[in-house]
Symmetry: C2
Subunit: 356 residues, 2 copies
């Protein structure tokens, strides 16, 4: 696990980031970064061994109506495959499934703990025959829901691509499947990957009645903990360069920093790319005052939860502090943002119209 | 009402925008734009007449522990006060309240219908003695919650400033108060205004144990309806120039359009400022291809709900179509966004690492 902890990916660590504002206290840093390690380390055989579908050709007649996969490799993710030499191959296609497709729904759990879930999300999970997700997030789903599911497919770490394909294969095989993640499925998360893989398999979104159930994103969960830092135009930017080149990230930071946006920074730090955080601080300081308020939320609702309000000039010094790691989201204020009574406040502009 | 419909404000119409992805079907366009008109039209006496607190000096001994206000004007919002001549004056200050303060919590209802609420939001409202909000959103709170509250303070239209002050006065008077809005309290909403007014009254956030309960923002609610358009770095920008000068809005659009951001456009249109939408389209087209996918979500979950996927080149022609009004959110894709099976998909970048 220690080696797994040394790496992460954009989506995975953001999935992790998504959960940290209200993550399960039972969740340990190693579990968190374990998922974060998902596409950067060779995956264990957990996927295949626990697979009810897709990767296993021996279960095609099982009661869980799983479909055939033409290749075991389909559920054995090459984590962090960074060269064509170990690209992941998609296994089953729609032609491998005889049954009428079931449903596929991507469900956002929100902050992470059950009370952060919407009623609609709980109902969608309760209606699903199969629930697929990273073990840490499956553990956040209330027992009364998981106990009623025909099958739960979870991977303890690694493999969001293989896990997503597994969910799709199960839906194509006729099961009603929910794939879960914390936060919102549209925020650095799996809704897009699900549609991309579904298309690659020759399927269609409409055939599996693909639906996304939104959840509260980390930016809003963490903004709430800081007060009201995000009530005006806002940008969400991830510092992970695993799937986006750092030069593009830097260009985006240069573009937004001079404007009046508040900024929610996802994936600010990892053991493998500490320099991205420092580079981000340098760019922001080129355009914004050193006294610009900055809110840091680390591992919210976890044993090591910490919320800290500082300023942009001090932020670089905190890069090596415990409060900034891969479970942290950072919110940078705009030129109007101020700190009052330990809260960050970004005025909406009413003070220009009203006297209060 | 028809005149109210002709105007809106950033926060108010965004509060409205927030609700349209999953708004109550009982909610009519006029109700929606009625709230939207809140700070642009002289307010009726509804606030004062229905006020249990703040603006009324006759209720200070009522069982709802309402505090004194030194001025009736405190709950009579001058909607859209745009000059110092008719600025709103804050009424009661902390010195006017003898009781120990109660609690003040800003609760986001999410998409708008009860099933879009989180369990935490429902619990916060159930625990509140007073619930304050725009009538349309109060109506979205389950009856079992509102029936249990000591008092509900709602305004049918107009007055988010006076309504917010009312909520604060009630908390300062010793009541546990929840102020509600759709979407998230941090997204163009009332969390910031509540802290600003609280400070202006000489109060502190800690004294009323101020808390924000996040909800699902409109960008995520609408993104979910379109598929997966927002899975990479994203900007939220409002086109309302009521509280933000149009030149600043244009500068922000020029800054983000050349970068790889997906863009969630709030408040794209109102009868009073139709030109902002056309100007936004012109700026985006200066930097992005005409075939850039654009998703339009209008009045979701309402009788007139409509979701339409088009391209940036066609968008300007739709400015006068019914689908684009003050209940619409527009999502503009980035250079990688594509349309497949009636869904918008913004790749996260996995295709560069995996073969699927």
């Amino acid at each position: 696990m220690s080696t797994d902890n040394t790496t992460e990916t954009a989506e995975a660590s953001t999935t992790d980031t998504e959960s940290k504002c209200g993550a399960s206290e039972a969740r340990s840093a190693s579990e968190a970064s374990g998922e974060a390690a998902s596409t950067s380390e060779a995956e264990t055989s957990t996927d295949t061994s626990s697979s009810k579908c897709g990767g296993s050709t021996t279960d095609t007649s099982s009661e869980s109506k799983c479909g055939a996969s033409t290749s075991d490799s389909s559920s054995s993710s090459k984590c962090g495959a960074s060269s064509s030499d170990d690209e992941e191959e998609v296994g089953a296609t729609v032609d491998d499934f005889d049954a009428d497709p079931g449903r596929l729904i991507a469900v956002g759990l929100g902050p992470g703990q059950p009370e952060g879930m919407t009623t609609r999300a709980k109902k969608a999970l309760a209606d699903a025959e199969h629930i697929v997700g990273y073990t840490t997030y499956i553990d956040l789903v209330p027992d009364e829901i998981t106990d009623e599911a025909d099958d739960i497919y979870s991977t303890p770490m690694c493999g969001e691509v293989s896990r997503t394909e597994e969910a799709i294969d199960r839906a194509l095989a006729g099961n009603d499947v929910a794939i879960v993640g914390s936060g919102d499925p549209n925020v650095y998360a799996l809704a897009g990957l699900a549609l991309e893989i579904l298309e690659s398999k020759g399927g269609t979104a409409s055939a599996v009645d693909f639906e996304v159930v939104p959840g509260v994103p980390a930016a809003q969960s963490c903004g709430a903990r800081l007060g009201a830092p995000l009530v005006n135009d806002t940008v969400s930017v991830s510092l992970s360069d695993h799937l986006t080149p750092m030069e593009e990230i830097e260009s985006r930071l240069h573009a937004i920093a001079p404007e009046g946006f508040t900024i929610a920074i996802y994936n600010p730090w990892s053991r493998k790319r500490r320099e991205n955080f420092q580079r981000c601080c340098e760019i922001l300081l080129e355009h914004r005052d050193e006294d610009t308020p900055v809110g840091i939320v680390h591992g919210a609702s976890r044993d090591d939860e910490a919320t800290h309000i500082t300023d942009l000039g001090t932020l670089p010094e905190l890069g090596e502090e415990d409060i900034i790691d891969m479970t942290t989201t950072i919110i940078v204020g705009n030129e109007d943002t101020y700190v009052w009574d330990d809260r960050m406040v970004t005025p909406r502009g009413y003070e220009t119209k009203y006297d209060y």
